[in-house]
């Protein structure tokens, strides 16, 4: 199982961002970390038998937490869950929000992968995006990270932003590659409703690159990065061999994942559920439960001392699950049909595509039986390809992947 931990705070909100995040005061952040820690412990009770293969601290900007807060969360996590020895542990950060000391703390806590939001190498573009750092800030942070010893670093880039041309984007790619990161996520800008960008540009409105230019930019990204030794393993993700993000691959391959924190989403045993999105309410519900949470904490040592009698275990597990249930809003059980659909529309995001033998082993039906007609139509239209017993998108298929994926809904 994978863990996702959400930190909904940032220094200031970017103009294109529609994530659950925003600036906040130190008091709220402190109470949030307390609540989060309580949730980590409660979830640990429920899933103590699962081995955690990856952890991802996302946000927001998780790096705005203090070193102490990171330590507290990690202590709770290690005490509550069984982390695999080779677990991939990533934290998202923004340039200029970390010191050398903080980076050392990350290393000591066990974090082994950094994901840095660079977005652009051009300070004018950074400003226009509403970012609060410069390219120089990034260079400093990046150099510190290398110095401290991080050997797996991702940089996020955004393409197809207002005013961008194919040539200016090529400049960004050149600079990015010259820094030699292990991983690059290159996203085409999505103008999301409710963001300042939406008010400014609307959907596909004036000022943004046209669809044709956008695809040209996308195409250049792939060719340029592949030439530079980065393989595109997902629609927007590129990595040097062996440095694909294991955590994110889990989402596309439907590995179980547990989301912790406000608004976090989970997939566990074919149930999808997510947490309430209101920070104050999240804090209130988990803080209230702190008293009983402490009872749970007391029972934990008894449990370990008494040699884990089944009865005690189930009582504390039950308490924990009741506590967590209060912060769950939507819960949906996926039937076999929904599972097959997800397998396809998520799996196709990866360039290697969906494994036919794995599909058949999992569902006990041949792909031909379930999707024969769609497959042959899509292959004929040049949108899909079957290679080495895997179904994957063609280049044209990537361009209009929503259309292709929608065909796999039964």
């Amino acid at each position: 199982m994978e863990l996702y931990i959400h930190i909904p705070f940032c220094v200031s909100k970017c103009a294109y961002c529609d994530f659950l995040s925003g600036p906040s005061d130190a008091g709220t952040i402190r109470r949030y970390v307390e609540a989060l820690t309580a949730e980590v412990r409660a979830c640990g009770e429920m899933y103590h038998d699962r081995i955690i293969t990856t952890v991802f601290f996302g946000g927001g900007t998780p790096s705005i937490l203090t070193e102490e807060q990171i330590v507290v969360i990690f202590r709770a996590m290690r005490e509550s869950f069984r982390l695999a020895r080779d677990a991939e542990i990533t934290i998202e950060m923004n340039p200029g929000t970390v010191t050398e000391g903080k980076l050392r703390t990350y290393r000591e806590a066990g974090i082994n992968r950094l994901s840095i939001g660079l977005q652009s190498v051009n300070d004018r573009e950074l400003k226009m995006l509403g970012r609060i750092h410069t390219f120089a800030d990034f260079e400093t942070t990046y150099a510190l990270a290398r110095k401290v010893g991080f050997q797996n670093i991702n940089m996020d880039l955004i393409s197809a932003i207002p005013g961008q041309t194919v040539e200016s984007w090529r400049g960004t790619l050149e600079k990015a590659v010259s820094m030699n990161p292990e991983h690059i996520s290159a996203y085409s800008l999505i103008v999301e409703e409710g963001t300042p960008f939406y008010a400014r540009y609307g959907e596909g409105g004036e000022g943004l690159p046209s669809e044709d230019e956008e695809r040209e930019i996308y195409d250049l990204t792939r060719r340029f990065l592949e030439k530079s030794g980065y393989e595109r393993y997902e629609i927007s993700n590129y990595a040097k061999p062996g440095f694909e993000c294991r955590h994110n691959k889990g989402y596309w391959e439907r590995t179980d994942y547990l989301g912790i924190g406000v608004g976090a989403a989970s997939l566990v045993n074919n149930q999808r559920f997510s947490h309430i999105r209101d920070v104050a309410e999240y804090i209130r519900l988990l803080a209230q439960e702190n008293c009983s949470g402490r009872k749970g904490a007391e029972s934990a040592p008894i449990k370990s001392v008494s040699g884990q009698t089944a009865a005690i275990k189930s009582v504390s597990e039950q308490n924990a699950s009741e506590r967590i249930e209060k912060i769950v809003t939507e819960r949906e059980t996926l039937d076999v049909q929904a599972q097959m659909e997800e397998t396809m529309f998520l799996g196709l995001r990866e360039m290697r595509g969906v494994s036919i033998p794995e599909f058949e082993a999992q569902f006990g039906k041949t792909v031909q039986d379930v999707y024969g007609r769609v497959l042959s139509t899509m292959e004929k239209e040049g949108l899909l390809r079957v290679k080495d017993e895997r179904i994957c998108l063609t280049e044209r298929g990537v361009d209009i992947s929503n259309y292709v994926m929608s065909q796999f809904l039964l």
């Binding site: 999505i190 629609i235 989403a265 997939l267 209009i400 992947s401 929503n402 259309y403 809904l409």
Partner: protein, 604 residues
């Protein structure tokens, strides 16, 4: 209730040009007669169809029976029959008039006599009704009752000196209207002891009561148990209930006798058994001959109506049958389209009638419809001597078999203030109108006479007229007959395939312009697809316009992580659902809205 003395009954309707305040006056009359308290009055109680209220117009003729205590100390029964005002609904007006003995003519004190004022008065006079003028809206600052009275006397030629000067909106002088109804509208003359002779002027279908027949009893009487016969259809049934019309409800009574207006329900289940205009008589003691009924009105505008969901075809048939029951002017027959599947070719009195039927089908019967471009009936003279009456452009024979074609023409009268005469003449010119003359009614207003092809006025002529005269022009027309014309069939090809539902007949001189506009509009409506789609307009084998829908270039979600998956599924589902609402023509998906959008090609 005992039989009422005929001399105390007044059967009348209200006629007016649209917006002169007919429905408001009806409301006031009902209010003042005390049948309803002010609190019970919804605005415009007679317009009980949701659609009528929303559009603020009267579509279906409605009736109400009210009781008035006159100044002479007697109690009178008024049967007020509301009539629609729009030019499309002359037929409905005609039906209502046949049930009346007199008519109140409402004229706007500011606007004066308008085209439909005249048309309606002539209709009323055709039915031998006494016309009683009323000047409305005298509370308006621009009211000029003196001038309007003169106009009524000069233009229409009826006495108007003592016409009540009222404001239906404020209720001013409504009492005088009521008194004049008693004095000026004649009482019915019928023999209650003669054999039953009743005119059906409307009917509707109720799922509990079955068919409800609205009728005016001319002679004789009818009550529960009477075995009635419909003289035209021959259908017989036993009367289950008779009664009269309360405001918005049916009030049962013991019997209806000569001079009265009311309803009959009988064990009639089949919608087709009752026909508006038919005569009801007593099967045991029949009258010698039926009443004259109404002149049958022929539809002038045709279009195809198709269910958006092919499986709803039987539902559409059922709904059309039920609507036809109280709208005899609606005609339909089954047809099939390559693009749209099974549907009906329907005939309407005009474009407004079409729109209203379409909306009623959608609202009252919950049907999702696709409508093809409306057209008129063309006469096609073939070289072999045959003549075809063409209602569906797809049935046009091969040009080599056609000798010549004729299209229907109308005689139009347009009333307009002097300053807009130029603009309106330009409009008529553009619509292939032939100028017939102009007369000034007064210094600042004139009547323009034109002969116009009907197919030029069924689309948006009325809207164009209003917009070019800032709302001041009014318009009426009557059929003139057929004239030879240079007509061609304009076909639309999407991805090189002809879409039958988009074909229409057009004058050769405007084919290029129309074709170009159609292609532009379709380009906006058809979403990008996997491949490039040419949209072409063609006359015969000649392409006269072309647009291209470019291939879909990009439809991709850049990010999809743990928190995005549920949303992603919804997006894909929506995308798939959207596809279902498309019509597949060849390998192109055409949204239903595309078929409709071409109906409204903007004039400018």
């Amino acid at each position: 209730m005992a039989t009422i003395d005929q001399s105390k009954i007044r059967n009348f309707c209200i006629i007016a040009h649209i917006d002169h305040g007919k429905s408001t006056l009806a409301d006031r009359i009902i209010e003042k007669t005390g049948l309803l308290t002010s609190r019970e009055m919804q605005a415009q109680v007679l317009d009980n169809m949701e659609l009528e209220r929303e559009r603020g117009i009267t579509i279906k003729a409605q009736s109400v029976r009210i009781v008035y205590n006159a100044q002479d100390g007697e109690e009178y029964v008024f049967n007020l029959i509301d009539t629609p005002g729009h030019v499309d609904f002359n037929y409905e007006v005609s039906r209502s008039l046949a049930a009346c003995d007199g008519a109140i003519l409402v004229v706007d004190a500011a606007q004066g006599v308008e085209a439909q004022t005249l048309a309606n008065v002539y209709l009323a006079l055709d039915h031998d009704l006494d016309v009683m003028p009323v000047i409305n809206k005298i509370d308006l600052p621009s009211a000029d009752p003196g001038r309007v009275i003169e106009e009524i006397e000069d233009v229409i030629g009826i006495e108007a000196a003592d016409a009540p000067l009222i404001s239906a909106k404020t209720g001013l002088n409504i009492e005088e209207v009521l008194e004049q109804i008693v004095k000026k509208i004649p009482a019915p003359q019928g023999d209650a002891n003669a054999p039953l002779q009743a005119l059906i002027f409307d009917s509707l279908y109720d799922s509990y009561k079955g068919v409800i027949v609205f009728c005016r009893i001319k002679e004789g009487r009818v009550k529960k148990g009477t075995q009635i016969r419909m003289m035209a259809t021959g259908a017989e049934a036993e009367v289950v209930e008779v009664g009269y019309f309360g405001a918005g409800q049916f009030i049962p009574a013991d019997e209806l006798s000569a001079g009265m207006v009311g309803y009959i329900t009988a064990s009639l289940k089949n919608v087709k058994d009752t026909r508006v205009g038919d005569t009801v008589t007593d099967a045991q003691n029949p009258c010698s001959e039926p009443l004259p009924g109404y002149k049958k009105v022929n539809p002038m505008v045709y279009c195809g109506l198709y269910p958006a969901d092919g499986a709803k075809y039987p539902d559409l048939r059922d709904a059309l049958e039920k609507l036809q029951l109280n709208d005899a002017s609606l005609q339909f027959e089954a047809e099939t389209s390559i693009a749209l599947g099974f549907g009906f070719r329907c005939g309407f009195l005009g474009l407004l009638h079409l729109e209203i039927i379409q909306e009623r089908l959608e609202r009252e019967y919950n049907l999702d419809l696709v409508t093809t471009a409306p057209g008129v009936i063309y006469k096609v003279y073939k070289t072999n001597g045959d003549v075809i009456e063409l209602t569906n452009p797809s049935n046009l024979p091969d040009p080599s078999e056609i000798d010549y074609m004729e299209e229907p023409m109308v005689k139009a009268e347009i009333m307009v203030t002097a300053e807009f005469i130029g603009a309106i003449m330009d409009l008529c010119q553009e619509r292939r109108g032939i100028y017939q003359g102009m007369e000034y009614i007064e210094e600042t207003r004139a009547v323009l006479r034109y002969h116009l092809p009907l197919n030029e006025i069924i689309y948006d002529f009325f809207d164009a007229l209003k917009s070019r005269s800032r709302g001041y022009a009014s318009f009426d027309y009557e059929m003139l007959g057929y004239e030879r014309s240079e007509l061609v069939k304009l076909d639309i090809l999407i991805n090189k395939e002809e879409v039958d539902a988009l074909s229409f007949i057009v004058h050769a001189g405007t084919a290029y312009e129309r074709g170009r506009k159609m292609c532009e509009k379709l380009k906006e409506e058809i979403p990008r697809q996997l491949f490039e789609i040419p949209i072409q307009a063609a006359v015969g084998s000649k392409i006269i316009a072309r647009e291209t829908v470019k291939a879909m270039r990009k439809d991709v979600l850049a990010k999809c992580y743990g928190g995005d998956i549920t949303r992603k599924r919804k997006l894909l589902e929506k995308q798939k659902e959207g596809k279902k609402r498309m019509r597949q023509v060849g390998n192109v998906e055409i949204p239903q809205s595309a078929f409709m959008s071409v109906l409204k090609l903007d004039d400018k």
